[in-house]
């Protein structure tokens, strides 16, 4: 009797403190913060690798690295940025914001939520530790193409295991997010009234659930080819190396949208707030997001135009890829129409959102160029592709993450961030990023392949420019770190609404949002 009462006390009041609080927490806000901190640490780790790559490429000849270590750097930079920085950052936003935006007290499966997060540091540790193993880290490219991937040492098996663990984490996270959104919305909050960020994450969650098992299958086949004598990807045993590419990109292309749909969601929250005008074409935004997600399953082989497919396949994948430009265009037009005749102000979240719209569109245009199969034959595996996906992932996904952090940080911490530091961070990032990646278009057109540690002399000037941009961009991220730490420690008190034009359930809560919110569901309309 007294034991039972005591246990009940423990449950409602006695939170473990110190490290145990974070290890055992099931609170969506704690877990959201941990995801975001993890992503930031990974961003800086993989960013350091990128700076090493750019330093080596500052001039022709081998200076700082050797070709094998260079390949390790490019491979790990890709893997960690995608699976360690961008995806966990969006999971962090989902954890913090989905319950607050739909009026739910927490996620649907709080314990699984804890487990989904804590798998990630384990996987990251395994990846990072592989640098110390004999032979070094994986050097076969983040796309893990066999037979090259079959040749590597022990770190290749460790990487496969790490990818499995990260995939498991993503699937658990997605099931949690989808269940929360479908079952725990406040009374009156119908699907077509949900904030767009919630919509994009719902669709992303389904993409993850559909494609992560495909990746798991592909890497498992690699594992058995490497260790157990199977021949899935070995022609001598009746397999086909190109089959891996088909399976990988069947995961890989939806993955691209997994990395960008939540970004669309964040930007769709921010632009109406600072335009003080409702989002233009809400319904068409939802339909466009869904169409992009569905089409993303039909375009995978545009990553493989150079493998030598039959004409019919080449044409099919070219047309389906071009088709994706239509719903993507609708989104861009809607954002511009949202700004049109608004009452615009330019706080840091809005600056990042506007830069997102412009620069993501440049990435979209280069995507359209790459969709044209004959042109893609020239540009496949060159720096043009490197420029393209960095415009989409840096000025796209990463800028939206920055925008989202600036937008919601006052709600999370109760303090306003320093607008001066924020603007410095924005301008240095946007200038550095363009100096870094824009010249890569020209390098690719002129014929510089990607993933090479050394290059012919005619590529020197643009490479030097890119390296200068890389260091500006890289070091300006320290401003962001300082800004976040300062905002957590103190700063002007944030109001509950924070932004004049902000709409939505999260802004009805006090700032900072209390540890437990919406224990009684709010009623919408």
């Amino acid at each position: 009797m007294s034991d039972a009462a005591h246990a009940h006390d423990d449950h409602s009041h006695g939170h473990p403190s110190g490290i145990m609080r974070w290890l055992t927490t099931t609170n969506h806000k704690d877990i959201g913060s941990m995801y975001l901190w993890f992503a930031l640490i990974m961003l800086f780790s993989a960013g350091t690798m990128a700076l090493l790559i750019r330093a080596e490429l500052f001039q022709p000849g081998m200076q700082l690295t050797n070709p094998d270590f260079f390949n390790q750097l490019t491979t790990m930079h890709g893997l960690i940025m995608i699976f360690g920085a961008i995806m966990p950052a969006f999971s962090g936003f989902a954890n913090w914001q989905v319950p607050l935006m739909i009026g739910a007290p927490d996620m649907a499966f709080p314990r699984m939520n804890n487990w989904a997060f804590w798998l990630l540091p384990v996987a990251a540790l395994m990846l990072m530790a592989s640098f110390l193993l004999p032979g070094g880290a994986v050097a076969g490219g983040w796309t893990m193409y066999p037979p090259l991937f079959i040749q590597g040492g022990i770190s290749y098996d460790l990487t496969i295991l790490a990818v499995h663990i990260m995939g498991l984490s993503s699937i658990m996270g997605s099931i949690n997010i989808a269940t929360t959104i479908l079952n725990m919305r406040a009374p009156g909050l119908t699907l077509m009234k949900m904030p767009l960020f919630v919509w994009t994450w719902l669709i992303t969650a389904y993409l993850l659930i559909a494609t992560m098992p495909v990746l798991a299958g592909a890497v498992t086949m690699l594992l058995t080819d490497r260790n157990f004598g199977t021949h899935f990807f070995n022609a001598a045993g009746g397999g086909d190396p190109v089959m891996f590419q088909h399976i990988f990109w069947f995961f890989g292309h939806p993955e691209v949208y997994i990395l960008i749909l939540p970004a669309f969601g964040i930007v769709s929250q921010i632009i109406p707030t600072f335009a003080r005008k409702p989002l233009f074409g809400y319904a068409s935004m939802v339909y466009a997001t869904a169409s992009i997600a569905i089409l993303s399953f039909t375009v995978w082989a545009h990553h493989m135009f150079a493998v030598g497919m039959p004409v019919a396949a080449q044409l099919f994948f070219m047309f389906s890829t071009m088709l994706i430009a239509v719903p993507t265009g609708v989104k861009i037009f809607n954002w511009v129409a949202t700004m049109w005749k608004g009452s615009l102000t330019f706080e840091t979240p809005m600056l990042f959102a506007i830069a997102f719209v412009c620069l993501f569109t440049i990435g979209g245009f280069s995507g359209l160029v790459l969709a044209i199969a004959p042109v893609d034959i020239q540009l496949q595996d060159t720096y043009y592709v490197v420029a393209h996906f960095h415009y989409v992932l840096v000025s796209g996904a990463l800028f939206s993450i920055f925008a989202g952090i600036y937008y919601w940080l006052p709600k999370w911490t109760g303090h306003m961030y320093s607008e001066t530091l924020g603007k410095w961070h924005f301008w240095l990032s946007v200038i550095g990023m363009n100096i870094l990646f824009f010249p890569m278009h020209f390098l690719g057109l002129a014929g510089m392949p990607r993933r090479i540690p050394d290059y012919a002399l005619q590529f020197t000037e643009f490479n030097q420019l890119a390296t200068v941009g890389a260091f500006i961009f890289g070091f300006s991220q320290l401003i962001f770190l300082v800004l976040v730490l300062k905002t957590i420690k103190g700063g002007d008190k944030a109001t509950d609404r924070v932004w004049e034009g902000a709409e939505g359930l999260e802004w009805t809560l006090p700032s900072p949002a209390p540890y437990h919110t919406f224990e009684t569901a709010p009623v919408v309309r």
Binding site: G308, G329, K341, L344, L368, I377, I431, L457
Partner: protein, 384 residues
């Protein structure tokens, strides 16, 4: 934002130039040397123009709004948020533009894929890290290695004009002939790419894919491997020499003569100095990329030969590894790549260089005997 606009302006200016000046400009694709490359070049310019037009219209509107519809100018927000007509218009217009793009693109795809009626056929094989060319009509075979000296790469010598884009033996083809390429690989996936000819075809081990080109100008066209293939992916360039019909015939005769004298080497007996000198050359071209010039390898990745059991133990095991490789590792089988004389020389060199002082000599006849045994059917190539 300004920096971006400047560059966008630059791109626009580049597009406005006439084609001939544009072609030499480092802001666009390389000067086309074939009709297909020209078609791709034009296709790229067309799509860039379309993108630029859309960019100007959409972001013109956005920047107008950013300048005029500011709160600081006292602009009050309107409240519209839906308009079905507008939505339909900006779904249909992009669709129509894309259909307009799809038609010319599809024509080029079909043309690029049509490998019928070739005048000659060359089989191309990718290796870690070199290419080999087999002229199926003329019975000529050779390997093509990077010829940039190591000193230029590590920075102890000044870099030459064609740094990293030069080879010891280029592929030579006659101008104006349809050349069909059969492309495959020996170990991992490579990709044979020559930008000026607009050919990029992955070389896939165990499969043969085809492509074609018809160069319409005499000249030297340079490219590189375009698919990550391991450590020296950046160091396996491609050089295509397009020559006149007469020059091509002369080259074919010369190659055939060289092959006959190389075949004679396989039946000769060499002395130690000859074998070691020849072996060092073979070693630098075929082995040093992994096992390093000093024979020490790269710990954990590529094993050492200097002081290793393989080079001091039984000579037959040593020859066997070189002939047949080690399946499942990066160690390739050289039976099909090197002649008996070359293998004899490199074995002798490895057993007498660095810390290895066996004093063993291997003669071409011994390699021929070993092929008959373990290697079985693997036929000896006449020359490297």
């Amino acid at each position: 934002m300004k920096s971006k606009w400047q560059r966008v302006g630059m791109m626009g200016a580049a597009l406005a130039f006439s084609q001939s000046t544009l072609a030499d400009y480092a802001y666009n694709l390389q000067t086309p040397a074939s009709q297909v490359a020209q078609d791709v070049f034009d296709l790229h310019n067309l799509i860039m123009l379309v993108c630029l037009g859309i960019f100007v219209v959409v972001f013109g509107a956005m920047f107008y709004s950013l300048l005029k519809h500011r709160k600081s100018l006292g602009h009050k927000a309107a409240n519209f948020h839906e308009n079905t007509t507008v939505e339909i218009i900006w779904t249909v217009i992009p669709f129509v533009i894309l259909v307009g793009m799809a038609y010319p693109a599809a024509r080029v795809v079909i043309d690029m894929k049509d490998t019928t009626n070739p005048d000659m056929t060359v089989k191309i094989t990718g290796f870690q890290w070199k290419w080999s060319y087999d002229y199926l009509n003329d019975d000529i075979s050779f390997y093509s290695n990077l010829s940039t000296p190591r000193e230029q790469i590590v920075g102890t010598a000044e870099k030459g004009e064609h740094y990293l884009l030069e080879v010891d033996e280029p592929i030579v083809v006659p101008v104006g002939k349809r050349v069909r390429l059969l492309i495959t690989a020996n170990d991992v996936i490579h990709s044979w790419w020559v930008p000026a000819l607009s050919v990029k075809q992955d070389a896939i081990p165990g499969f043969i894919r085809d492509s074609w080109f018809k160069a319409d100008r005499i000249g030297t066209y340079r490219g590189q491997c375009a698919e990550l293939c391991g450590k020296d992916h950046g160091f396996m360039p491609i050089v295509v020499e397009v020559v006149s019909e007469e020059d091509y015939k002369a080259w074919v005769e010369k190659k055939k003569g060289a092959a006959t004298s190389a075949a004679a080497d396989n039946t000769r007996t060499f002395d130690a100095a000859e074998l070691i000198a020849r072996g060092e050359t073979v070693y630098q071209a075929n082995c040093a990329a992994c096992h390093q010039a000093d024979g020490k390898g790269l710990p954990g990745v590529f094993p050492a030969i200097s002081g290793a059991k393989i080079a001091s133990g039984p000579i037959d095991a040593h020859i066997d590894v070189i002939l047949n490789g080690r399946p499942g590792t990066a160690m390739a089988a050289f039976a099909g790549q090197l002649s008996d004389a070359d293998i004899a020389a490199v074995v002798t060199y490895q057993r007498n260089a660095w810390d290895n002082k066996t004093g063993d000599l291997a003669q071409p006849a011994k390699i021929a005997a070993a092929r008959g045994g373990a290697a079985g059917e693997a036929a000896a190539p006449a020359a490297q």
